[in-house]
Each structure stands twice: as structure tokens, then as C-alpha cells.
């Protein structure tokens, strides 16, 4: 299986506080990788190092390598803007822009100049919304405010927005944590569906969710990678005692 992202000896600091310790991990192409672990264990920090979202935080510092398709994204001459187009992200709290539904999805296409014509733009917006399983619910109200959508719909809109720029990797930081079970199920089905075209990294607090959707699972604790294994093995026969204790709920 081809490796998409290869992380080696990654350390991360917020000022003087070290948030990630010596993470080494390989993410294969077109698979779903779940990151689990207790709150504050560094999984969100880690996922944000993969598209250099942490660059915007004052005092943040990275050591080590993150190699995507053979290129170290922290190396010299890397264009962060191009990187983020290739590695898209969906956030924990849905964050639609104060624009219409159409303009939300069209925004990324427009700024990156992906479309060839107005008709092409419309097709791309429709495709992204279909891929995010939202098209049927919004096709008659494309020009209304994105804030009029329900929480689950807003989150799928944000997924559509991320897919519209045709990334290769999609990072999802607890995309369903604020949603009800039905909306969560829709997002999960969607994630599995997206595996055909994208490499997906998903942070989740929900153990069942990790078990249901992912191919591989990484367990983090206190900024360290405790275990990284195929999901089935992880949940049935983990290598580490710590992983087993966490998965079975023996500590919080």
C-alpha cells in the first residue's frame, strides 16, 4: 500500500510547553485513519500540523518531518497556501462563511481559480454538495444564507466546501462531536464513501465511531503516540495495556 503521509520524529511546542513528543507514523493512501485519546492528548494539535494550520498560532514551533508525497511540508520553499489546497480540513465546530450556500462552496473554487467557466463553477458546486450528501436538501435554496441550515447540514456544507477544491487529503477534527446521532450517522457514511477518492484523517472522541469507520487507529496520550495499528486489531487485541484500558473505559 502506498504511503501518503509519513511523519517522523515530530515534536511540537506551544512556546515552551511541548505538546507532541517524537511522533512517528505512516498514513497510507485512500484509507481512513482515526486518532483517539483523552482530551488534551494532542490529537487536534497533531492533525493541525499536517496542513500547517498551527502556523497561525503565535509561539508555535515544529521539529521533525512531515512528508507528503515525498515532500517535507516543513522544508524550505513550501507554499503553505498550495499545501492547504492539497490537504483540506473540516473543523469541530461547523464554520460556514456569512455568505449564501452556493457562495460557501464556490469560495474555495474561486480563490484557487479551479473553474474554467461559470457553468463549470456551478457543476463543481453541485458535485461537491452531492459528494457531501447535501445536494437534495439545499438545491432549491442555494442563494439563501448558510446560517439557515441545521447544525448537521452546516457541517456537511463545510465538508462540501473542503471537497470542492479537490484536495487529496481531508483532515477532520471531531466533525460529528456537536451533532445528533442521525446527523452523525450521515457524516460517518459520508466519510466511508469518501475513502474511494481521498485519504482521510479523523480525530474523534467517540470510540465506536473510530471502530465503525476507520481502517487504522492511532491512540495518543499526553502528547505521545501510544499505539498505531489496524483498527480491528486495536479494538480486539491491542499491543499496549494502556490502549486496552482506554478503549474499555477503565480510565477517563
Amino acid at each position: 500500500m502506498k504511503t501518503k503521509i509519513s511523519i517522523s520524529n515530530l515534536d511540537f511546542y506551544y512556546g515552551k510547553a511541548q505538546a507532541l513528543h517524537d511522533i512517528t507514523l505512516e498514513i497510507p493512501e485512500r484509507q481512513i485513519i482515526a486518532f483517539i485519546g483523552p482530551s488534551g492528548c494532542g490529537k487536534s494539535t497533531f492533525i493541525r500540523t499536517l496542513n500547517r494550520m498551527n502556523d497561525t498560532i503565535p509561539g508555535a514551533r515544529v521539529e521533525g518531518e512531515v512528508i507528503i508525497d515525498g515532500q517535507n511540508i516543513y522544508g524550505p520553499g513550501i507554499d503553505v497556501v498550495a499545501l492547504r489546497r492539497k490537504v483540506g480540513m473540516v473543523f469541530q465546530k461547523s464554520n460556514p462563511f456569512p455568505k449564501s450556500i452556493f457562495d460557501n462552496v464556490a469560495y474555495g473554487i474561486k480563490i484557487n481559480g479551479i473553474h474554467s467557466s461559470k457553468a463549470d463553477l456551478q457543476q463543481r458546486v453541485e458535485k461537491a454538495l452531492r459528494d457531501a450528501a447535501l445536494w437534495d436538501e439545499v438545491k432549491d435554496r442555494m442563494n439563501t444564507s448558510a446560517f439557515g441550515l441545521s447544525g448537521g447540514q452546516q457541517q456537511r456544507l463545510c465538508i462540501a466546501r473542503a471537497l470542492a477544491v479537490e484536495p487529496e487529503v481531508v483532515l477532520m477534527d471531531e466533525p460529528a462531536s456537536a451533532l445528533d446521532p442521525i446527523a452523525t450517522q450521515k457524516i460517518e457514511e459520508l466519510v466511508v464513501e469518501l475513502k474511494r477518492d481521498y485519504t482521510i484523517v479523523i480525530v474523534t472522541h467517540n470510540m465506536q465511531q473510530a471502530a465503525r469507520v476507520s481502517d487504522r487507529t492511532a491512540f495518543f496520550m499526553l502528547g505521545k503516540l501510544v499505539e498505531f495499528n489496524p483498527t480491528q486489531k486495536m479494538f480486539q487485541n491491542p499491543d499496549e495495556k494502556l490502549t486496552e484500558d482506554y478503549i474499555t473505559g477503565r480510565f477517563g
Binding site: 494550520m53 499545501l83 483540506g88 480540513m89 473543523f91 462563511f97 455568505k99 444564507s145
Partner: protein, 281 residues
């Protein structure tokens, strides 16, 4: 036990009612003062109001005359001030909020705050030395510049505050799509803060529309219609000042009428901006 609960509840209800009425009275007081001022101005000014008063230029006492040139001058100088002050002020505010977390930003912020506190007459003297003296005469240009300088720090600081209210998650959402920082500021953050920025701009415009002191030095006054920025220009506030300090009762009545127009103009600006910036999304 039940009795104790009732007693306690009663005391709480009384305190609650007392505090609510107290705040309501204060709110009412603030509104009443405004209504009193406006209605007093309306009562004193309405009798001298006529179409001629709105379009004619000042005439010798007893021959009528009006404030047409003053309205035009005020509008022209406020327009010039807005054309200079708003874009520069808003851009400065965007810089302060989005990129200004350094020594330069802190310095600009401090200077802006100081500038807000400087009495407007000093701005008038400043523009007088800088523009009026080299030009050799007072002008609408100098008046508009003085007003722009007064607007600038107000607009910059309110813009900064409004932009800081835009949630960071929105910026991150756009950055994650591969948007460069300047595009995020320009077409996500700025529109999200637009109604707040417009309110700040409106307040700044309203503030300079009511300025008199800086115009005395810079635009002076004119008894005629003047549409050239390089000539002395009349303004409502200076005209009110002239009428109000005149010895004749007719002049005082005209001052009241001009005041009514000025307050009306500010009111219209307020309503207009409210209407234009009502939430669409």
C-alpha cells in the same frame, strides 16, 4: 419550610422589581433627554423653515435668506472627509486587528487613541498651518482634510474592534481552503464585520458633521454657493454659529431652523446606514 421559601421569594421579587425599574428609569432618562432636545429644536426651528430657507444664500438681516450654500458646503466637506477618512481608517483598522500584534501596531494604536482625545480645534490649527498658509486662503479642501483627520482614528479603532469580534474559526475555515491571508481578511473577515464597521463609520460621519471649531480656521465661511474645493466654503455648523451669535432675533430663529436641518441630516445618515447594513446572511 414552605413559609420560609415564600418569604425568601418575596424579598427576591421585590429586589428584582426595584432594580429593574431603576435601570428602566435610567434608560428612559437617556431617551427623554434626546427627545427633549430634538423636540425643543423642532419647536423653535420649524417656524423659520421654508423651501426658500433651504435653497437660498444668507442675506442681510430682515431680507430673509437661507442656508442652501451651508447645506451644500457641509455635504461637500463631509463627503471629502469620508472619501479620505473611511478607506484609510478601515484599512488601518484591518491592519491593526489582523496583523498589528507587534510594536508597530501598538504604536499606531496608541497614536490613534491619543488623536481621538485631541480637541478638534487643535486639528483645525494643524491643518491651518499645513494647508491654509501655503495655499494663502481658507478652502473647502482644508475643511474636508481637517474633518478627515478627526474621522481617521475613530474609524480605525472601531473597525479594529469589530474585526476582532469575527470568530477565528471563520478565518481558519478560509485558510484551510488555501486562501492567502489577505484574501481571508478581504472577503471573509471584512464582510463578516461589515455592519459593525458601517456603524463605526456612521458614528464618525455624524461626529464630523457636527464639528464647528476645526472649520472656523480651515473652511472659514462663504455667503455664496461654492462648488470649488479650493475656495472658502460655508458649513451648517459655522452658519449656525454666526446666526446664533448675531444680535437679532430673526437670526436666532434661523439658527434654530439650521440646527433642525443639521440634526435631521445626522438622523437621515443614521437611518440610511441602518437600512444598508441590515443583516442579509
Amino acid at each position: 419550610m414552605a413559609e420560609a421559601i415564600t418569604k425568601f421569594g418575596q424579598r427576591r421579587r421585590i429586589t428584582n422589581a426595584l432594580m429593574t425599574s431603576l435601570t428602566a428609569i435610567c434608560a428612559l432618562f437617556a431617551t427623554v433627554v434626546l427627545i427633549l432636545i430634538i423636540s425643543y429644536i423642532a419647536v423653535r426651528g420649524i417656524s423659520s423653515l421654508s423651501v426658500e430657507f433651504l435653497v437660498e444664500t444668507p442675506k442681510p438681516v430682515g431680507e430673509g435668506g437661507g442656508i442652501g450654500n451651508a447645506i451644500a458646503g457641509s455635504a461637500m466637506m463631509t463627503l471629502l472627509a469620508a472619501v479620505i477618512g473611511l478607506p484609510v481608517g478601515i484599512a488601518a483598522g484591518v491592519y491593526l486587528a489582523e496583523y498589528g500584534r507587534n510594536w508597530f501596531g501598538n504604536t499606531v494604536r496608541f497614536v490613534a487613541d491619543t488623536l481621538i482625545g485631541i480637541p478638534s480645534i487643535i486639528i483645525g490649527i494643524f491643518v491651518y498651518t499645513l494647508v491654509v498658509l501655503p495655499m494663502g486662503r481658507q478652502s473647502g479642501l482644508a475643511g474636508g482634510l481637517a474633518l478627515a483627520i478627526i474621522m481617521l482614528p475613530i474609524v480605525a479603532r472601531t473597525t479594529e474592534e469589530m474585526i476582532k469580534l469575527v470568530p477565528n474559526s471563520m478565518r481558519e475555515g478560509a485558510l484551510a481552503l488555501g486562501a492567502p491571508q489577505w484574501r481571508v481578511s478581504w472577503n471573509i473577515v471584512l464582510p463578516a464585520a461589515a455592519s459593525g464597521i458601517a456603524t463605526g463609520a456612521m458614528l464618525a460621519i455624524a461626529r464630523v458633521t457636527g464639528e464647528t471649531a476645526p472649520l472656523l480656521f480651515t473652511a472659514l465661511n462663504s455667503r455664496f454657493y461654492n462648488f470649488y474645493y479650493d475656495q472658502p466654503m460655508s458649513s451648517l455648523t459655522v452658519q449656525i454659529f454666526n446666526y446664533a451669535t448675531g444680535p437679532f432675533e430673526v437670526e436666532h430663529a434661523m439658527a434654530w431652523a439650521a440646527t433642525l436641518i443639521l440634526v435631521g441630516m445626522i438622523l437621515v445618515i443614521n437611518i440610511l446606514v441602518r437600512f444598508l447594513t441590515r443583516k442579509r446572511y
